[in-house]
C-alpha cells in the first residue's frame, strides 16, 4: 500500500531558529546542512543553512512526517519554492521586533498559499514579545490578503513549545488529508 510522504517546512529569516526548531522536534533524527556563515553583515551567527535542514518524525510504523528547514537568504528562493511544493504545512518564523518582520511574513505566507498542496500555515513568533506586541502584530497581519492564520509564540529551543506549534497545525488539517 502506498503511503504518501508528509512534509512540513519551516520558513523565516536567517538566524531565526529553524535549525534549532527541527532539532527540538526531531531530536536525533535531524540532519543539518549548516556551513560557516560568510555573510556576517546580514547576520552574526557562525554557521548558516545552505541546503535543506531535514528531520523526521515517525508517526507510526508506516508513516513518517518530514520536517524541512529552508535557508533564509533570498538567493535560495528556489529551494524554498521547491520545498513548499512538496509540503502540506508551513511554519513561518518571525522576530516581530525586526523592521522588515511584517513585510517578510506577509510575503512568506502568500508564497505558502501559492503552493499547490499547502493546507495549514501558522506564524510563529520566535523571540520574546509582550502580549500587546503579539496582538498588535496579529491584527496588522490579518488585515492583509490570505494572512488570516494562527499567530503563535514559542521558543525554538523548547521541544514542548514546538510540539504545541505542531499541534496547532494538526488542528487545522482536514481529518483525511492525503498529501502528495
Amino acid at each position: 500500500m502506498h503511503h504518501p510522504i508528509k512534509r512540513i517546512v519551516l520558513l523565516g529569516p536567517m538566524g531565526i531558529g529553524k535549525t534549532t526548531a527541527i532539532r527540538s522536534l526531531c531530536g536525533s533524527l535531524a540532519i543539518e546542512c549548516d556551513v560557516p556563515n560568510l555573510d556576517k553583515q546580514a547576520h552574526a551567527k557562525e554557521t548558516t543553512t545552505v541546503g535543506l535542514d531535514f528531520g523526521e518524525i515517525k508517526l507510526d510504523d508506516e508513516d513518517t512526517l518530514q520536517v524541512y528547514g529552508c535557508p533564509g537568504q533570498e538567493r535560495y528562493d528556489f529551494v524554498r519554492e521547491w520545498a513548499l511544493s512538496l509540503a502540506f504545512g508551513a511554519i513561518v518564523m518571525v522576530d516581530i521586533h525586526e523592521p522588515q518582520a511584517m513585510e517578510q511574513t506577509i510575503d512568506l505566507i502568500q508564497q505558502c498559499h501559492a503552493a499547490p498542496n499547502i493546507q495549514a500555515v501558522v506564524v510563529l513568533i520566535a523571540r520574546p514579545a509582550s502580549a500587546a506586541q503579539q496582538e498588535m502584530f496579529t491584527v496588522r497581519l490579518s488585515a492583509h490578503a490570505e494572512c488570516a492564520v494562527p499567530v503563535l509564540s514559542a521558543d525554538p529551543r523548547n521541544p514542548s513549545q514546538m510540539l504545541d506549534t505542531l499541534d496547532i497545525i494538526a488542528a487545522m488539517l482536514p481529518d483525511e488529508v492525503q498529501p502528495r
Partner: protein, 299 residues
C-alpha cells in the same frame, strides 16, 4: 462632529498609564481621520475595570457608554452581574488599534441611540454619517500620566477596520445573539486570528481557534478536535462573537436550539475511524504522536 466626555478616574492604577497613553493616541488618530462637521450632543464614556465596576455603574448616567478593561473571564462575570450595562470590553493588553476601533464603534452606537430612525433611513439609502471624537473633559489624572512624546505606536498601528469590533453575524447565520445557543448543525469559522486571555489562553483554546480559522466546523467536530467541554466551547464562541471575528453558518434546515444541559459529550463514534477507514488520517496521526511525545517530554 460628536464630542466625547471621558470618565476614566475609576480605573485602577495598573490600567491608568496604558489607557491614558493609548487613549490620547487613539483619539488623535480618530480625530485626524474625520472631517469637522456641525457639533452634535456629547457622548459620555465611562472607562472602568473589574475593581471599579460597582461604583462606576451605579454613578453613570443612563445615556452613557461603559467600557470595561478586563480579562474575558472578568468581563463575563461582570456582564452576568450587570446585564446590559457594559457596552464594550477590552482585554488588559489591548492595543491602540483596538481602542481606536472601539471609539468608532461607540461613536456609531451613540448616533444609533440618538438618531435611530434617521440612521435607519440613511442606511437604506446607502448613506453614511460622519463621526468624530473630541476630548472635551479628560480626567486630569490621565492627562498627567500621558506622554505624547513617545511616537512609536502611532506609526506601528494599522488603520483600523471599521466594523471589526462590532458584534457581527453573517446573512446566513442563525439567531445567535449573545446568550443564545446555536441551532443544531450551525458551523463556525473565524475571520482572523485573535489572542484570547485569562482562562482561555491555553493550548486547547488555541486548537479551537485553529480549527475554526481553517474551515467551517460544527460543534461536534470542535469538541473532538480540542477535547474541550461543549459548555466551554460555547463560552469561547460567545467571546469570539463579542470580538466580531466569528462567522456562523446555519444548517440548511435549522431545528430547535439544543439546551446546554442536554448536550452529550463528544460522540465517540466520530472520534474513531470506521472499518473502512482503518488508516488514520494525518490529523489523528499527528495528534496521537504529539500526545505520546508530550507525555514523555520531561519539560
Amino acid at each position: 462632529m460628536s464630542e466625547l466626555i471621558l470618565h476614566a478616574a475609576h480605573l485602577s492604577e495598573a490600567h491608568q498609564l496604558r489607557f491614558s497613553y493609548l487613549f490620547e493616541v487613539a483619539a488623535k488618530h480618530w480625530r485626524d481621520k474625520q472631517p469637522s462637521q456641525t457639533a452634535k450632543t456629547a457622548t459620555e464614556l465611562w472607562v472602568i475595570d473589574a475593581h471599579s465596576a460597582p461604583d462606576a455603574i451605579q454613578n453613570r448616567s443612563n445615556s452613557s457608554f461603559v467600557l470595561l478593561i478586563a480579562t474575558d473571564d472578568q468581563a463575563q462575570a461582570a456582564r452576568a452581574q450587570w446585564p446590559d450595562q457594559i457596552d464594550a470590553q477590552l482585554p488588559p493588553d489591548y492595543s491602540v488599534g483596538r481602542l481606536t476601533q472601539l471609539l468608532e464603534h461607540i461613536s456609531v452606537q451613540a448616533h444609533g441611540k440618538r438618531l435611530r430612525e434617521t440612521l435607519k433611513t440613511r442606511r437604506q439609502h446607502s448613506m453614511t454619517l460622519s463621526h468624530d471624537v473630541q476630548v472635551k473633559n479628560a480626567d486630569a489624572a490621565f492627562l498627567k500620566a500621558t506622554d505624547l512624546n513617545q511616537p512609536t505606536l502611532v506609526v506601528a498601528e494599522p488603520a483600523p477596520e471599521p466594523v471589526l469590533e462590532a458584534p457581527a453575524t453573517t446573512a446566513t447565520a442563525p439567531a445567535a445573539a449573545l446568550g443564545n445557543l446555536p441551532a443544531p448543525g450551525t458551523r463556525f469559522r473565524i475571520k482572523r486570528w485573535t489572542q484570547l486571555t485569562g482562562s482561555m489562553a491555553g493550548q486547547a483554546h488555541r486548537q479551537l481557534l485553529a480549527a475554526m480559522i481553517s474551515g467551517d466546523r460544527g460543534l461536534d467536530e470542535l469538541a473532538e478536535r480540542t477535547q474541550l467541554e461543549r459548555g466551554e466551547i460555547l463560552r469561547v464562541l460567545q467571546v469570539l462573537r463579542g470580538k466580531g471575528v466569528l462567522v456562523e453558518t446555519a444548517a440548511p434546515a435549522a431545528a430547535e436550539p439544543v439546551a446546554l444541559a442536554t448536550l452529550a459529550p463528544p460522540a465517540t463514534h466520530t472520534a474513531e475511524p470506521g472499518p473502512a477507514a482503518a488508516k488514520l488520517g494525518l490529523f489523528r496521526q499527528l495528534s496521537r504522536w504529539i500526545h505520546q511525545n508530550r507525555a514523555s517530554d520531561p519539560h
